[in-house]
């Protein structure tokens, strides 16, 4: 699935990770807003996008702190009621980022935690997807990217199933040409 061109994999790399530089770096002062020179000093604490943090960690130039979205506080909230937690706000790539971070940090309890979170939210998403009618429901704004895809898949297969049962036109206008059909004739004022 993951490839060089994968948009989600690239955007996941933009998630901020707090790191501590183990060695300084010259000519990249932009990374550290608190730095007065054009350099990052040793043991400076900086927020880097994940793609950069990951590569520098492999070169032993930085150490990675576990992001706050996997903190004890979030874990307690998830334990209380997993479906109510706004995960998108914490990170739209909550699960993917967690999986990629796991080999890089000492705290190995992230793995089971992610699994628990996903399984407890999964049931809720599938149940709700069957009862959606029309507009996007409120709870979908709390879902991560992966969960929204899941919801959409469940919803569209439900729609396809209903359509198959009822029957109807299977040929449709190309979706790129616009959803709504322009009226070909001016609408007549309704007569008496």
């Amino acid at each position: 699935m993951l490839s060089y061109y994968d948009i989600d994999d690239i955007l996941l790399g933009e998630e901020p990770i707090s790191v501590v530089f183990q060695i300084g770096a010259n000519g990249v002062g932009l990374l550290d807003p608190g730095s007065e020179t054009n350099n990052v000093e040793k043991s400076a604490k900086v927020d880097l996008p994940f793609w950069l943090a990951h590569e520098l960690f492999l070169r032993q130039a930085v150490s990675i702190n576990v992001p706050s979205c996997y903190s004890l506080k979030t874990r307690k909230e998830i334990q209380a009621d997993a479906a109510c937690v706004d995960l998108r706000f914490r990170s739209p790539y909550f699960y993917e980022l967690g999986c990629k971070l796991l080999p890089l940090v000492a705290d190995k309890s992230i793995g089971p935690f992610l699994r628990y979170t996903f399984t407890s939210r999964y049931k809720e998403i599938l149940c709700k997807s069957h009862s959606i009618t029309g507009a996007t429901p409120k709870f979908s704004s709390k879902l991560t990217k992966e969960e929204s895809l899941l919801l959409e898949a469940a919803r569209s297969s439900m729609v396809a199933f209903k359509k198959w049962r009822v029957g109807g036109s299977r040929l449709e206008k190309a979706s790129i040409l616009g959803r709504k059909r322009k009226p070909t004739m001016p609408t007549q004022p309704s007569g008496p």
């Binding site: 060089y4 061109y5 994968d6 948009i7 989600d8 690239i10 955007l11 790399g13 933009e14 060695i23 300084g24 770096a25 010259n26 000519g27 990249v28 932009l30 990374l31 807003p33 350099n39 996008p49 793609w51 950069l52 590569e55 520098l56 070169r59 130039a61 109807g168 036109s169 299977r170 040929l171 449709e172 206008k173 190309a174 979706s175 790129i176 040409l177 616009g178 059909r181 070909t184 004739m185």
Partner: protein, 220 residues
């Protein structure tokens, strides 16, 4: 404290944050992809020439910085392969940023090209103006060449591959005309396709019109 001054400060502060945000290495390229990801699957946004060129400019800057850091290491008579000092890690960060920007740009072009290819199968050889406006010059060329290649293949096979994408139940279909199409020659005879008229025609003939939104399947 005067609330107006406070608000001014807030604006300045927000503007500053925004600049810092955009200045993070690789951030601009990801903006391009975010734009692409934010529209519904299969839909196109207008080609963002401005941001694309800014990312290329960023790449050139990274390259200059990288060169100067490497020169600095060489000038100090250090071995470029084994040195792990501050200059080395500066150079590494610039190099990684360069590769990251490249990946962003490549992904932007690749994912757009995928959509553009699919248009040939859904819309036909000629793109409507509102879609053409969204394409970059090289993308238009790509579309034309791709279209020509498919047509050459289809004429070799003597078969129109773009119809019957949904398996047909019946070779004929009842359709309602939505737009004024005019006189059309179908098979042996010509028929006049005026708006709101109903016809019973071959499915193969109707399919392109339905995809273009000029007709719809008529169901009781």
């Amino acid at each position: 404290m005067n609330p107006i001054i406070k608000e001014d400060h807030l604006h300045l502060w927000l503007a500053k944050i925004k600049i810092i945000c955009l200045k993070m290495f690789g951030r601009r390229a990801s903006q391009l992809l975010r734009e692409l990801a934010s529209c519904e699957p299969g839909q196109l946004t207008a080609y963002n020439t401005d941001t694309f060129e800014q990312v290329i400019k960023e790449c050139n800057e990274h390259n200059l910085q990288l060169q100067s850091l490497i020169r600095k290491i060489e000038d100090a008579n250090l071995d470029i392969q084994t040195t792990r000092n501050e200059d080395h890690f500066g150079a590494v960060i610039h190099h990684l940023s360069l590769a990251r920007n490249k990946r962003g740009l490549m992904s932007y072009m690749y994912n757009r090209a995928e959509i553009i290819q699919s248009l040939r199968w859904t819309i036909g050889p000629v793109l409507p103006l509102e879609i053409q406006e969204k394409l970059n010059y090289s993308e238009e060329e790509y579309y034309k060449n791709h279209s020509t290649a498919i047509e050459a293949y289809m004429s070799q096979l003597d078969l129109d591959l773009t119809v019957d994408m949904v398996p047909p139940k019946d070779p004929y279909i009842r359709v309602k005309v939505l737009d004024d199409i005019g006189e059309v020659c179908l098979g042996e005879h010509t028929i006049s396709l005026t708006p709101q008229s109903l016809h019973f025609i071959k499915r193969v003939d109707a399919e392109p019109f339905i995809l273009q939104g000029l007709m719809e399947e008529f169901l009781e």
